[in-house]
Symmetry: C2
Subunit: 232 residues, 2 copies
DNA sequence: CGTGGCCTTGAATGTATTCAACGGGGGTGG
DNA sequence: CCACCCCCGTTGAATACATTCAAGGCCACG
């Protein structure tokens, strides 16, 4: 692990309150690895041997059943996955694979549980992280159950535009195939949903998205902080 | 609060490791209340003033957007809701209303946060509880995204039968209207889904459900612990 | 230069929602 | 005690929405 990296990790909310000796315990058995794109890091159903912390690149979390599969979330630096399985010493509920070249810290689950049981600051930090994750899934489920696919796409575009600076144009951070799955539709249906947003001033050329009429788009999307604000 | 109740609560995993003085702090400002059915306990978007613990009855968690609303979950004794909002001092993402006459403990959020910051055992217990909640929502989302409505109903019936003892027959614990919303469909569609399960040996008369051919039903439902096992 | 995967489009199919209507049960008030 | 009414659940028909299947263009990559 590079020295600057350790310092940076040390400042992450999850590890900031850790007592020094516990930080050492945790990172003595840790290792950092660079993965090429499309590497399966985690298989759904496996035991959670490592807590993963992504520090570069991006990772997709998927779930499958009966020969179908769906994208549940994408993870960007710097954040952890999948914490809940590690803490509960339970099987992973989702699979994980790299989308791009990624740099990832692997912390042995046993060490995480040991330090968690011993270090109150760490336990509190985990609570905050888990509460965040929980609320993110709840929001995602509200999005799925309360909105049509067109509305989900419209809100997705507004969220991403805001996340990337609110310039009114941005590039899709993943291929449309995966975006479709993430939004709960087929690629064909996403194509059609994109076309239908042209009426609301949204231009999409390849991965480039441009919002020409924010008012119109917001009128359709009706964004709501209790669904769309990640910090809420 | 009745004395037997306090003892019982003391034994809940969430409070068991709490140091005695902190238990007192937490429950000094607490009060227990009996609510009739159909009482709105929590409004989506409000600040989380109290952590709720249900000890009798049942509570429905709903979410709404743009004049639509959906049932996200139902809560049964003895468990808490909504912990994440309390910890993060954030707005509720869901509303809560009693379904039946219910007995509920209200713990001031500020006290919960105070004790949380001070008592490591409590922090650890909250982590376990939150991890459980998180995994429950992830499972629910997998159910929604990976299964058709017929498959969701089939698995729901198998889960409930198992939960109620696996006798092959049980009564639906809520009205069909709410069940439909919980399963992500309209009441009309639930009616049709129920009818369609007759081919798989499922008899439904009013609230009474009978499984006449478990093999056939399981063949359709393909239950999976990573979606359907609540303890997994 | 070929090839495979992604994206798009069209047509057909399937699934779910909406709208409308009706029967029945529970509760209320006369 | 009964009549009434409201709401739930069901059913049918029409519609809307989404998926599947098939085909073709395009780009990236070997």
């Amino acid at each position: 692990m590079r020295h600057g990296e350790i310092d940076e990790i040390r400042t992450l909310p999850l590890f900031a309150e850790l007592r020094p000796e516990n930080f050492d315990t945790l990172f003595r058995g840790a290792y950092v690895q660079n993965f090429p794109p499309q590497v399966q890091l985690i298989h759904e159903g496996d035991r959670a041997d490592f807590l993963h912390v992504i520090i570069e690149g991006s990772v997709e979390l998927t779930a499958s059943w009966n020969n179908r599969d769906t994208t549940m979330a994408t993870v960007a630096p710097i954040s952890t996955f999948i914490l809940a399985a590690t803490i509960k010493d339970s099987p992973y509920l989702m699979s994980a694979r790299t989308l791009e070249r990624s740099r990832i810290i692997l912390l042995p689950s046993q060490d995480v549980r040991t330090v968690f049981a011993e270090d109150a600051g760490f336990a509190r930090a985990i609570v905050v992280e888990l509460a965040q994750c929980y609320r993110a899934v709840v929001k995602s489920q509200k999005d799925l159950k309360l909105r049509t696919s067109q509305e989900r796409l419209a809100n997705y575009i507004l969220r991403k535009d805001h996340q990337f600076g609110g310039h009114g144009h941005f590039d899709l951070p993943m291929e449309k195939k995966r975006l479709a799955s993430y939004l709960g539709m087929t690629p064909e249906n996403l194509s059609r949903a994109i076309k239908s947003l042209a009426d609301f001033g949204v231009d999409v050329n390849g991965a480039q998205v441009r919002i020409n009429n924010r008012k119109a788009l917001e009128g359709l999307a009706k964004p709501n902080p209790l669904i769309d604000d990640p910090r809420c």
